[in-house]
């Protein structure tokens, strides 16, 4: 009768860790094929976002040069974050001739589903040097709780 030893395996082994490692490796591999900056087209809706997760919060950053804080409208509803606003700073002087026009003006609206439940009461946003940073505290139900281990 075949007999499998499970004993030599570490007991608390994340079964997905190996997949995660392979996925990361593949990501790196595919990235090296492309020029840096070319893999940016993933987001088509302005603004492009980076999302980070910390133990108790989500941090979302976006590069939004030329957007004034007053023109920016953020809202959290359930687990959907909506970023709306406009950018319209063009010079309208007379006698101006443009050589290059690469910076676009217009309005934007993006709604994203947050990956984690957040507490809508504890959301803060900061716009500095053209970078928007939104900090969303996780809802109490999903925030990690420290568990004290006592010995007898």
């Amino acid at each position: 009768m075949p007999y499998v030893h499970f004993i030599d395996r570490p007991t608390f082994r994340n079964p997905w860790a190996e997949f995660e490692r392979i996925r990361k490796g593949l990501d790196e591999l595919s990235r090296s094929y492309f020029e840096k900056g070319e893999g940016q087209s993933r987001a088509n809706v302005y603004p492009a976002l980076n999302i980070y997760e910390e133990a108790d919060r989500l941090v979302i950053t976006a590069e939004m040069p030329w957007v004034k804080a007053a023109d920016l409208d953020l809202s959290v509803e359930g687990d959907t974050l909506t970023i709306q606003g406009k950018r319209d700073q063009r010079q309208n002087e007379s006698g101006v001739s443009y050589h290059r026009r690469e910076i676009e003006s217009g309005s934007f609206s993006r709604a994203i589903a947050l990956p984690i439940k957040v507490d809508p009461e504890h959301v803060s946003a900061r716009l500095a040097n053209g970078i928007l940073t939104i900090t969303l505290m996780k809802a109490a139900a999903v925030a990690p709780r420290q568990i004290h281990v006592t010995t007898e």
Partner: protein, 132 residues
């Protein structure tokens, strides 16, 4: 008011003149360049750059705009990455004669505006031709 919908503009990598020893990423900022009778204005998008990080130079008619970002620590684990961060670098050949002394720059909301006043106001000169 414009009703145009903004789109994400991809970042283009920029190559510093010499190979850098540090493995840093440079992007070419998007720019608007416009000219009036008296000056040339360059507007460059440089989100994340502070005043200390801006480096401007005009040498042999080549305007170099550099924006260095302070290294920031990545908060936590990355869930989504739609854009990369890096320094900014772009060079332009300026055709006009620029009054170097009067170059002025301002950085507001991550946008750098450089005013390059022309040295001599270009005045149309009339040459009279006389038939003798």
């Amino acid at each position: 008011m414009t009703t145009q919908e903004l789109k994400v503009q991809g970042k283009k990598a920029a190559q510093p003149g010499d190979e850098a020893t540090k493995n840093e990423t440079y992007f070419a900022p998007h720019v608007d360049i416009y000219e009036t009778e008296r000056k040339v204005t360059v507007v460059a998008e440089m989100p994340g750059v502070t005043v200390e990080g801006v480096d401007l130079s005009l040498e042999d008619n080549i305007l170099t705009i550099q924006g260095h970002r302070a290294p920031s620590e990545q908060p936590g684990r990355t869930i989504l990455e739609e854009y990369e961060t890096g320094h900014y670098l772009r060079r332009f050949t300026v055709a006009e004669t620029i009054d170097q002394e009067k170059i002025a720059a301002a950085l507001v909301d991550g946008v750098l505006t450089v005013h390059l006043p022309k040295a001599v106001p270009a005045q149309p000169r009339k040459i009279e031709v006389r038939l003798g």
